[in-house]
């Protein structure tokens, strides 16, 4: 088209062109959609079409304006371009067309229009320059398209980098840091934040940029969605002042210098786990691009956080399992060693094999009982009352009056439960064989209390009404267990009294360890 205009103008500038012809050329130029103007050899504007006036935002003063129809010119770098150095001035001075130059034309109203001029000098048949014609092409749409393309390329780069960093992330921290960078570079915001629900379901800041501590403290916990909520949609607030938020919230937000803001839900398996936010100093209209980009970022971050959470859970479960395996192995070995011990004690000391087998069987059952009680509580402990009741159940008279068990119900840790369980078994079988539980008139009272800090157990086992007690000749397993092992293990006192009215045993021992212990 530029060629066509040049040819047209070249024709009309011929000296032998008639006035009528010249008039029709001008009419033709007027009708062209392209901005066109002409000058004489000195650069004085001789003609300017309507499109040129529209582009320049002003009508030139024909006969006075030189070189340009536009108000002021700038180079693309923003520096002023004096009219006598404009492409048209160069074309006339150097008698050559000027091409491939971009300039910024300022309209009188201040608006800047990117323009590509095509100034071309015109010569008559004898080669004398008679003037010049300029076609101004408005390249603002082209420029906008170029900017949009560059912007999209930046967004793509930001997204690509984000994906790459998320892929490499080895912790939630890494993922959050990558997301903060991606939000800033993809959405071109200086202020943003990420909040995640903690275990109590409260939204907590895990990443932020450009937010004061007081603002974070004021809005932490505030979230439009509940943890796990489904179908959460992003919320874009163009201007906080135009919302029906409470005035107190508006004041906090405005106080931080925020007018526009966006809430983008982060989801995992469809449920909300947190949100990310972007903030703008002025009211902000969110473009479709921005909205789509925000949702894409949120989706990526949500996936990454979920992956990190699964990974963390897996590691935790693994550590837990290793610990349990080690505990189990320890417990099994100790239990085996204990069983071997009981066997040796039972078989070495028993008067007959039959007797020994019976003792061994009883002791193993007592140990198994205690283990059952402990297993029921996940090896956290066993009730003292329950241990005694279990052990003494076979010896209770039908009316139940021969045995009294009195004391506050306390939970014994596994080690103490095992030790005391075995001690009670020895005391109970002894009572059933030789003591108060071997006769109809005998009775057994067990009383205990807990005193002090750290807690100390005081337990009395008192038999009455049984056969006359005789001090045993030799130290059996039961006595050794009570007098030596139990005393050492509970770091307390165990006193056995072979009183004529019945056996009495008092046990004193600490209920708490100073350090944590394993069983």
């Amino acid at each position: 088209m530029i060629k066509a205009v040049e040819a047209l103008v070249a024709g009309f500038s011929e000296p032998d062109t008639s006035k009528a012809e010249q008039t029709s050329f001008r009419e033709l130029l007027e009708m062209l959609p392209a901005a066109v103007y002409t000058t004489d050899p000195a650069g004085n504007i001789t003609f300017c079409n309507r499109a040129a006036i529209e582009l320049a935002g002003r009508a030139p003063d024909i006969g006075r304006d030189q070189w340009c129809v536009t108000f002021r010119l700038f180079r693309p770098d923003g520096t002023r371009l004096p009219h006598d150095q404009c492409p048209m001035a160069i074309a006339l001075r150097e008698k050559r067309p000027v091409r491939d130059v971009e300039i910024m034309a300022e309209r009188p109203d201040g608006q800047l229009v990117p323009v590509m001029p095509f100034p071309t000098p015109l010569f008559d048949r004898s080669g004398v320059m008679v003037g010049a014609v300029n076609v101004l092409v408005d390249i603002s749409k082209l420029k906008a398209a170029e900017r949009a393309e560059a912007r999209r390329a930046d967004e793509q780069a930001a997204l690509y980098q984000f994906t790459d960093r998320l892929y490499r992330a080895t912790s939630m921290r890494d993922a959050v840091d990558a997301a903060m960078d991606a939000i800033a570079s993809a959405l071109l915001v200086e202020r943003a934040s990420i909040l995640l629900f903690d275990e109590g379901g409260v939204a907590r800041f895990v990443g932020w940029r450009g937010l004061s501590e007081s603002y974070r403290a004021a809005v932490e916990g505030h979230c439009p969605w509940k943890p796990g909520e489904r179908n959460a949609q992003p919320i874009f607030v163009t201007d906080i002042d135009l919302t029906d938020e409470a005035e107190t919230i508006k004041r906090v937000v405005r106080g931080e210098g925020i007018r526009g803001l966006a809430f983008i839900p982060l989801t995992a398996n469809g449920g909300v786990i947190g949100k990310f936010m972007t903030y703008y100093e002025t009211a902000h209209i969110f473009s479709d691009d921005e909205r789509a980009l925000a949702v894409t970022l949120a989706r990526q971050l949500g996936f990454a956080l979920e992956r990190q959470r699964i990974e963390t859970d897996r590691k935790r479960a693994e550590a837990q399992r290793d610990l349990l395996v080690a505990e189990l192995s320890h417990r099994v070995k100790n239990t085996l060693a204990t069983v071997i011990s009981i066997a040796r004690q039972s078989f070495a000391k028993g008067p007959s094999l039959e007797h020994a087998l019976k003792s061994f069987d009883g002791r193993l059952r007592a140990l198994a009982h205690t283990h059952n009680r402990l297993a029921e509580s996940n090896w956290e402990g066993a009730s003292l009352h329950r241990l005694l009741a279990n052990e003494l159940a076979p010896y209770r008279a039908t009316d139940g009056n021969n045995i009294e068990i009195n004391g506050p119900d306390i939970r014994l840790d596994p080690r103490r439960a095992v030790v005391l369980g075995m001690a009670f078994h020895e005391l109970a079988t002894n009572a059933a064989k030789y003591g108060a539980l071997s006769s109809k008139n005998g009775c057994l009272a067990i009383d205990w209390r807990v005193e002090g800090e750290p807690r100390e157990l005081h337990l009395d086992w008192i038999e009455r009404g049984g056969p006359a007690v005789q001090r045993p000749q030799r130290s059996g397993f039961g006595r050794l267990l009570l007098e030596r092992a139990l005393r050492a293990d509970l770091q307390g006192h165990v006193e056995l009294k072979f009183a004529p009215g019945g056996l009495q045993c008092s046990i004193t021992g600490a209920l708490d360890d100073r350090s944590s212990n394993r069983v």
Binding site: K333, N334, T338, I340, S341, V419, L486, A488
Partner: protein
Amino acid sequence: MQSNSVQPLGHKRVLIVEDEFLLGFSLLEDLTEAGADVIGPVSTVEEALRIVASESFDLAVLDINVRGEMSFPVADELLARNVPLIFLTGYDADAIPDRLQRLPRLGKPYHPKELASALMEAVQS
């Protein structure tokens, strides 16, 4: 062990540190039958350290994990006094620090014969 067998540990003073009372009890019996004068079983590291500081021994048997505490400080004190010792280990043999790796150990549950030979080795080394 039979009471009429030779008494390899005759009149030796042996410290037992073991928190599982029945295991300590078995050790006590085994060592007593072998002729030893047994001190213990002691069931805490604190108590063991106190006794080591105030009494003298010919030999010691240490459980590694005593109520959740490692008995290595007791081993260090005994070594400083040139008292031979053996470790009794449950699941925690790999927890033994390098400086104590050369000491003999006995896995739980142990056979009385293993105990006797481990003790003899410790006394002679």
